[in-house]
């Protein structure tokens, strides 16, 4: 795992722990020659459906990945009141990007989804925004300059 810490929300951790336990159960049943439970039968029931039932190599690899995350995670928590005006993990940031409005949530790599505005704290823009406050202008410039002006910061962590 290269000593990597996974920053993760409580909800995501719960989801991954559940998957980890279910996959361990599938692996156990497979090793006993029993039919694996069809927990992932339909992707409509589980939108993040991934079937590992046919390939034992993929199954083990996913179990190892989940184990690494569960053992090396740090929960994303709301900062104390005096620090809520500063961008940190979990912040929902309203920004003005060269005159265009946008909104990002700063998340850990496991939950990043730029198409939905979830920006990784390890991406150049995520990294650049961290530690800044409302009114700050943050520029990323090599080789093309873009300026992100922070308009608002809030935390909606459960």
């Amino acid at each position: 795992m290269d000593g990597k810490i996974y920053y993760i929300t409580k909800e995501k951790l719960h989801e991954l722990k559940k998957e980890y336990e279910e996959l361990l159960e599938i692996e156990r049943k497979k090793s006993l020659g029993e039919t694996a439970p069809k927990i992932f039968e339909s992707e409509d029931l589980n939108p993040e459906f991934v079937s590992f039932q046919e390939d034992i190599g993929f199954l083990r690899s996913r179990i190892d990945e989940l184990k690494g995350i569960v053992e090396h995670h740090e929960l994303i928590k709301s900062p104390t009141k005096d620090k809520q005006g500063i961008v940190s993990l979990g912040a929902k940031v309203k920004i003005d990007v060269d005159g265009q409005k946008d909104e990002f949530v700063i998340v850990g790599t496991l939950e990043a989804n730029p198409a939905l505005g979830k920006i990784s704290n390890e991406s150049p823009v995520g990294k650049a925004l961290l530690g800044h406050k409302i009114g700050d202008e943050v520029s990323v410039s090599s080789p093309i300059k873009t300026t992100y002006k922070i308009k608002n910061i809030k935390y909606e962590i459960g």
Binding site: E43, T109, A112, P114, L116, S142
Partner: protein, 207 residues
């Protein structure tokens, strides 16, 4: 075997399907979807070797199937829902990365996912069941960034596009690079791919 042959002839159409982003930018003789898949697969293989613990076979299979749904779903860009009528306005729009409200981001993402999933189901219907299933699983993993392979290839896919954009910029000069740089700096967080992005920058901008 008839149904398997049909699958091959259908995916063969991707050799002719031009990538929408380049068509909108009026690039002469732009790459096809198959061209993009070809280089993205090789890039995933070569750069994936630098990632410890990454299942290269899985990443390459994912690369091969990630855009095949476009046979029926077509290639789309984030600009499609806001395209103005005049060519002049389109050119202006394409200079920056499009920004949407949270609800519109969600709506566009769900609509695209549904359309492409239906297309992939139709395309793989005649294949052996376990193979069709494997393709769907890999595609959903790529779409949702479920596993480390899915997260790696999602960014790899964009990196291939980023490289192609830089090459067209070098060739045609009038292509604005800003939208790719904005997208890349907001999307990439994989250290191997970020390092490679710097190499592209060095190679194309500083030489």
């Amino acid at each position: 075997m008839d149904k398997i042959l049909t699958f091959f002839t259908e995916i063969g159409k991707l050799k002719e399907l031009k990538r929408r982003g380049w068509v909108l930018r009026e690039i002469k003789n732009p790459e096809s979807v198959a061209d993009h898949i070809f280089r993205a697969t090789l890039m995933a293989w070569v750069l994936g070797r630098k990632k410890r613990g990454l299942n290269i076979e899985k990443v390459m299979k994912m690369a091969l199937i990630h855009d095949i749904c476009e046979v029926y779903a077509g290639d789309t860009t984030p600009y499609d829902s806001i395209l103005p009528k005049s060519k002049k306005e389109i050119r202006k729009l394409l200079r920056t990365w499009p920004r949407f409200s949270d609800s519109k981001k969600k709506r566009l993402s769900e609509k695209k996912f549904k359309k492409e999933k239906t297309a992939l189901e139709k395309l793989t219907r005649g294949l052996p069941k376990e193979l069709a299933r494997e393709m769907m699983d890999l595609w959903i993993d790529y779409e949702n960034g479920k596993t480390k392979e899915g997260r790696f290839f999602k960014q790899m896919d964009r990196l291939e596009n980023f490289l192609q954009a830089t090459e067209y910029w070098k060739k045609y000069k009038n292509l604005s690079q800003k939208s790719w740089w904005d997208q890349a700096r907001e999307s990439f967080d994989d250290p191997v791919l970020l390092e490679f992005m710097e190499k592209i920058d060095k190679q194309f901008h500083k030489n």
